[in-house]
């Protein structure tokens, strides 16, 4: 799906970044996540949907509850995207180095 737009969009919100921080320590149900915020379960749920849409979390049912955990896919999508620009900075630095070399020769 390579929809890194949805991934970046999901990361552009402080609440969702905090949720990811929580899930980095342990898998949690929606109710457990909601208990850490001053927000309704329904409100948290909507954030979870956006995180899921960005492939930043995945959900697996366990009985009547659902466990949310981090999903590497979304993280990899933005790492990949960044790679393109890392390339760019390298070229810029090389170009700069060449200019300096030319000036000194």
């Amino acid at each position: 799906m390579q929809d890194n737009i949805a991934t970046f969009k999901a990361l552009g919100d402080p609440t969702r970044q905090q949720i990811l921080g929580l899930l980095a320590r342990e898998e949690l149900t929606i109710a457990e996540v909601a208990s850490k915020f001053d927000m309704t379960r329904a409100g948290v749920k909507k954030h979870m949907i956006l995180l899921e849409r960005g492939n930043l979390i995945s959900v697996t049912p366990r009985g009547r509850e659902r466990l949310n955990r981090l999903n590497p896919e979304g993280f990899r999508a933005i790492t990949d995207w960044l790679g393109f620009f890392d390339n760019f900075w390298d070229e810029k630095l090389n170009a700069l180095a060449n200019v300096i070399k030319d000036e000194n020769k």
Copy 2:
């Protein structure tokens, strides 16, 4: 400022990602950027403001026009943020490796 929220928010839009792609090849004025899109200059300008707010571009005046170029700061902000989770994946993989080792001993 470390407002990576503004940076992620700026990246969560396809038009703005395309603008960054253009600026990776050459510095451009707003009018030049706008000429590549089916959009008003004013519309492009608003995107540029969001990109600037996320430290993804920087603007320097040259006569009556303004040159827009990529700014490494925003890119570094999200690379840094990703670092935390890279750490997380490493730990997960180590934990998994240990489980496998225990099962085989």
